[in-house]
């Protein structure tokens, strides 16, 4: 900002100039002293070449009083015109007002009460050398863009002419070789807020005109597509092997690509927890049984003693009635089903569809027997109907699965999912619920 042209310079003869922070008056120290002659304030400062208090004031003042799109078009200030290599061709070179010179097309579109949408394309010709020192620029967005350009260029062999970088018309950058001027086209669109202006009073700071998602998306687009990098020969540049987007990995790691998934309420968080639990629920479920294990299961013919109380029984998977003499497949837990019915289930889970006992029969037979009887009304292990799924009424199923019975988490190996869920919930919401 030291080179800002529209500024009264130090007078000859090194007279010290004073600046009042209260009323922004300026005067010569040898004429009126160090107390402000206007407002009598003592909050004054000597203006020096390397310390000009007007800089701060004017910058803050600029932000408030310039047009809003000045804020949304930060790259306009990224380079001062005096460094322009084609400086003498540019009739606007001395004017630090890029509004007309550089904006080739500008659309101004009201989007609602108090809001508008500005889209503009800026053409700037910048010497690459400036990008190196651009970091000292007062305009942070300008410096930031220089940084981006450096990154993109750094991943690029500097001597290789490259194709234009195009991201669906949003931004375009065409750096040439080291010595050639850079041509940067940068389209920046923003939603800004209009406020009534009052030149005589300080105005409140504007709200940020962009939310972070928009900015991030823009950055991803700018960084995400840098064609031509992979064509770089190995000998051409020490940077030839650097992956095209040095920042992408970092950004991806920070945001996980999901900066849109921020949650702001307990409900939203819980929904995500539920979603995660649903996703992991299937991974908690037992894996599929091998075809050999399925084939190795014993077949059995339905006999009189396998029928239920009403002398009928059904395969509890297809609910078809089975008759005496029909062939069924029996699991180690003594539950039986049509072979094709149970095979369909076992190809997904290696447990009994009814009692969730493993089908390998690794448990002792007494255990299997006990578990086979669990949930049935029968108490005697020798009662043949107790192990017959077809004999179980819907009522007993409803009762045994009633969530109000609320089995302790982890009690049953098969209910690992809800147990985990309970623990998660308690861990996260316990303080509010207890």
């Amino acid at each position: 900002m030291a080179s800002t042209p529209a500024r009264s310079t130090q007078p000859a003869g090194r007279r010290e100039m004073m600046f009042c922070h209260e009323c922004h008056d300026e005067w010569y120290r040898d004429e009126k002293g160090i107390i402000c002659p206007e407002c009598q304030s003592e909050f004054t400062e000597i203006i020096e070449d390397d310390n000009d208090p007007r800089d701060n004031f004017e910058r803050a003042h600029d932000d408030d009083s310039e047009d809003d799109f000045e804020d949304s078009l930060p790259s306009l200030e990224e380079a001062s015109a005096s460094h322009h290599p084609l400086h003498h061709h540019n009739p606007w070179a001395e004017v630090d007002d890029p509004d007309e010179a550089d904006i080739s097309s500008m659309r101004f579109q009201p989007t609602g009460p108090g809001r508008f949408h500005v889209q503009a394309t800026i053409h700037r010709t910048i010497s690459p050398a400036q990008f190196g020192v651009g970091g000292t620029g007062a305009n942070s967005m300008g410096a930031f863009q220089s940084l981006l350009a450096n990154l993109i260029q750094g991943a690029q062999p500097p001597h290789t002419p490259r194709d234009g970088l195009e991201t669906d018309g949003q931004s375009e950058s065409r750096p040439g070789g080291d010595e050639a001027p850079r041509f940067t086209r940068f389209t920046y669109s923003s939603n800004a807020h209009l406020h009534p202006r009052d030149d005589n009073h300080p105005e409140p700071r504007n709200e940020p005109v962009d939310d972070i998602n928009g900015v991030m998306n823009g950055l991803f687009q700018l960084l995400g597509e840098t064609p031509g990098v992979h064509h770089a020969g190995p000998g051409q540049s020490p940077f030839g092997d650097i992956p095209p987007n040095p920042l992408m990995g970092l950004f991806a790691a920070i945001s996980g690509g999901q900066h849109g998934d921020a949650v702001y309420s307990q409900e939203a968080l819980d929904r995500i927890v539920s979603q995660l639990m649903e996703q992991t629920a299937t991974s908690n479920a037992p894996g599929p049984a091998s075809q050999e294990d399925i084939d190795a299961l014993p077949r059995k013919l339905i006999s009189e003693d396998m029928l239920g109380a009403e002398h009928r029984a059904e395969c509890s998977i297809c609910m078809d009635e089975v008759n005496i003499g029909e062939e069924v497949t029996e699991l180690p837990c003594k539950h039986w089903f049509h072979h094709h019915c149970v095979a369909a289930w076992l190809s997904e889970h290696n447990t009994c569809p009814h009692c969730r006992k493993g089908i390998k029969g690794e448990e002792t037979s007494s255990n299997a027997q006990q578990d086979g009887n669990r949930g049935s009304a029968a108490t005697s292990g020798s009662d043949p109907t107790s192990s017959m799924p077809g004999a179980f009424g819907a009522t007993s199923e409803g009762v045994s699965n009633n969530p109000n019975s609320n089995p302790a988490p982890g009690q049953d190996g098969g209910s690992g999912g809800p147990g985990l869920g309970d623990r998660l919930r308690r861990g996260w919401f316990g303080s509010q619920q207890d």
Binding site: S274, M319, D320, W345, H354, A394, S415, F429
Partner: protein
């Protein structure tokens, strides 16, 4: 969907017809038998008494190996029903990892009725409603009845 699955759904519908739990009506479309519409009266002993709730039961292609999907089409203020346009329920035997093929729709319907009478706050999909049910039953009752008046008449 396999022929076996369709057959089973038909069978279950037959069973439900023969033994529909009280306060329930099932609309069954033979053209689209995987989507049942259930009209459920709020149980008398519940906060939802007097309300008429429309539910949708969708049978997945893998039925009965995967659980049916239950959704309240009528808005209901309940800890176990999601408070959004889906009105989904996912607990107990409806959970994918707890479902087993021998379970029947009629058991699902009974579970829903039971939950209307007594919500399961330990397995809530809406923790804030569950918390209110636990901490401030009066307020919960007010909201639940208010929603019945507003949405379930």
């Amino acid at each position: 969907m396999s022929a076996g699955a369709k057959k089973r759904i038909m069978r279950e519908y037959g069973e439900c017809l023969a033994d529909t739990p009280p306060g329930m009506k099932i609309n069954f479309d033979e053209q689209n038998m995987t989507k049942w519409e259930v009209l459920l009266d709020g149980p008398d002993q519940s906060y939802y008494a007097g309300g008429h709730f429309k539910l949708e039961i969708n049978f997945p292609n893998e039925y009965p190996f995967k659980p049916p999907v239950v959704a309240f089409k009528t808005k209901i203020y309940h800890p176990n029903v999601s408070n959004d346009d889906k009105g989904s329920m996912c607990l107990g035997l409806l959970r994918p990892d707890e479902w087993k093929p021998p379970n029947k729709v009629v058991a699902v319907l009974r579970l829903i009725q039971t939950l209307l009478i007594e919500p399961n706050i330990d397995d809530a999909i809406e923790p804030s409603i569950a918390n209110e049910y636990k901490e401030n039953r009066k307020e919960f009752e007010k909201s639940a009845k208010d929603w019945v008046k507003r949405y379930a008449k």
